[in-house]
Symmetry: C2
Subunit: 160 residues, 2 copies
């Protein structure tokens, strides 16, 4: 079945994202397309995989900028092979591990610190601005905005 050439609308519908998002990703250098005779975008099926990686990485908390850099870090920015994906996912797994560990500590501290009402500000690990805990997480993160927006919207314009 899998078609060999995709239009922007097909990709968007298949991926559950908006056409404008594809435009945006292309503009950001995250995906590529070529144009047909009438200047319309055409995609290789491969773009689906690329988008799924973008989405997965976003869920892990990787910013578009970092995702882009990850893509660019692949040997001369080639179309990623299975090994490339594995390498990327390995990095992101480590990020995830760090993040999970961080959240777990935070969870325990929520009980220990807020729960007890101390929140001493000088010693409380929840509150220390130079937070050691923060070091175990691995960098800037936006989590689950995708889900948030997906739920908030329910994509009324793509209902058919």
């Amino acid at each position: 079945m899998a078609e060999a050439i995709w239009s922007v609308g097909k990709v968007a519908k298949r991926c559950g994202i908006k056409v404008s998002t594809l435009h945006f990703y292309e503009q950001q250098g995250l995906i590529q397309s070529w144009r047909n005779a009438g200047n319309q975008r055409r995609y290789k099926p491969e773009v689906l995989r690329r988008i799924s990686v973008i989405k997965a990485a976003q869920k892990v908390g990787v910013s578009l900028d970092e995702i882009k850099r990850a893509f660019e870090s692949l040997p001369n920015n080639r179309t990623p092979t299975v090994e490339d994906w594995q390498q990327l996912s390995k990095n992101w797994q480590q990020m995830l591990d760090g993040r999970i560990a961080y959240l777990q500590k935070l969870r325990n501290n929520l009980a220990g610190c807020i729960g007890c009402g101390c929140l001493s500000m000088t010693s409380c690990p929840l509150y220390n601005p130079d937070d050691k805990l923060a070091e175990s997480g691995s960098g800037p993160v936006l989590l689950d905005q995708a889900e948030q927006k997906a739920r908030a919207q329910q994509d009324p314009s793509a209902s058919s």
Copy 2:
């Protein structure tokens, strides 16, 4: 030691945040102050605890809006007692538990799905837009922007 009345600058320095952030939080109804004869903000030491809770909640991924609603949900928005904090932290712990579970699933799927290179789009749980996994996480989340910004800046204007 603990002083009984705090100025905005003291609170900011103690909390490692900017004065403008305190203005902002006040404007958002997250904290309160009164004014002295010269129209300057004065705070009870309690505000430190309140800010620490805001920061902790943000780390957990709670938005300012949700934090505000949590505060407001306390019996007639009273100054929170230790039990109140415990209740809040219990809610946020659940959120955290959900989020951790979600990330763990995601982590496993990163290995299973991206790693294998399949990313089938129809069946891949990483990619499914109506993602069942997403349901186990509990809502909209921004994580660790605070750390990100704190690191990116190193607050050059508050170096003394």
